[in-house]
Symmetry: C2
Subunit: 246 residues, 2 copies
């Protein structure tokens, strides 16, 4: 087996920590990492504070194969991610001609203001990340990928960098839901987890529309193992007198 | 001014990192911290891996006044938070009589199985956190509050510990939305931020129902400063030829 390819998401933004904005980017990147065979190991949500951004980037970029940041690359005073990442790598910020050109093509004549041009300021030696939604690019510096916070832009940027990422075998997932509670399942689940050390078995209680039960989620890179374990889980539920729920 | 009271949320669960479950607890705790005058400084989302939980708890509990963890305290094999937190503090896990009693009252006769009793196993010297939804408690060990992952349970637990938290002046918030773009506002916003160093001004572009614009969010512990700045923001938008949007 090759060396495991890992990732960390760093969400940058006071609005996420204050609860004013619900983050949706972690879930998106998490799903895509599974598909790409990259293990998302950790996420950090940090405020728009230069020292915190610099310290977090420098800690995490040494711990994981890839770092994905979201947020803080717009034109306003609170968008300090590009400058902070430059500082973390001890790089200068430079106005990138290629970014100016892309933005010049995107905006109507005369609308490429100085405020907008700030979004063409990226760290020296960084590689741009395309923004097919609203032109202003993200950038990659070594293993750190700096993307927008607005989900539709972040997603478009992420899809644009997939070719740059070394992946592994996709993490596959199956699930079985039952009306049984976690406690009824615990002993048998533990036995199955011991028998299937190459599959991770997650047990997640749900409470919806007045009904309670459990979603069992199994994850592995081998479909055959998932298929086999899923059958065992279904048998287990029947044996315990439960029902399988859609 | 008193020493700042800070917090960190540690979300524990593979299902959040895989994107299978959308975290909602960070936003809830973030809002409540603002109201309680506690500064939520950081969030980490980590997998159900003992070594990672231990390391993260031990790093964070020294950095922040309060640590709130969510997830991993159920009865199944993947619920390893209580044991991991005990390990972080070098405490034994013990079956707490008080927790057994609460659960015994909650469940019908004969339904308090060994699997359920696992949820009465908490670190020595910890203080229980009530669970008015489904009985099985969380716990507090020094400055670390260990809560359930299911949002309705987590919220009930959080409200139960509010009395144990030293708070400060509530962080107040006002917002103004406009149809102007961030770039049109950037220069004036920067000027206002320089004039109001005691208020944080956040600028968040929105894209909804085909309309674009910006939400300006201002935060301060002084309502008078928010009221004053809000007026200035409204004047600024008018001066720039924009509209204020509801």
């Amino acid at each position: 087996m090759n060396k495991e390819i890992t990732a960390c998401v760093i969400v940058i933004g006071n609005e996420i920590l204050s609860g004013r904005t619900q983050d949706l980017n972690v879930a998106y990147i998490g799903k895509r990492c599974d598909e790409l065979g990259i293990r998302l190991m950790q996420t950090r949500i940090i405020p728009d504070v230069e020292a915190t951004i610099v310290a977090t980037i420098n800690e995490c970029r040494r711990m994981f194969t890839y770092i994905f940041t979201t947020g803080g690359i717009g034109p306003t005073h609170d968008d300090i991610t590009a400058a902070s990442v430059a500082l973390a790598f001890a790089k200068k910020i430079e106005r990138r001609a290629e970014a100016v050109e892309v933005m010049d093509n995107y905006y109507e004549s005369g609308k490429l203001t100085e405020a907008r041009l700030k979004m063409a300021d990226v760290p020296a030696d960084s590689i741009l990340i395309d923004n097919p939604v609203s032109a202003a690019p993200g950038f990659q510096l070594e293993n750190v990928f700096v993307m927008a916070g607005v989900p539709i832009i972040m997603q478009a940027m992420f899809e644009g960098i997939v070719d740059r990422l070394a992946g592994g075998k996709a993490m596959l997932m199956e699930s079985v839901a039952t009306n049984l509670g976690e406690s009824a399942l615990a002993l048998e689940l533990s036995r199955l987890q011991d028998a299937y050390t190459d599959v991770s078995i997650g047990s997640y209680p749900y409470f919806k529309k007045g009904k309670v039960g459990v979603n069992l989620v199994i994850r592995s890179i081998e479909q055959s193992r998932l298929t086999q374990l899923k059958k065992e889980l279904q048998l287990m539920i029947e044996k315990l007198g439960g029902k399988i729920v859609d």
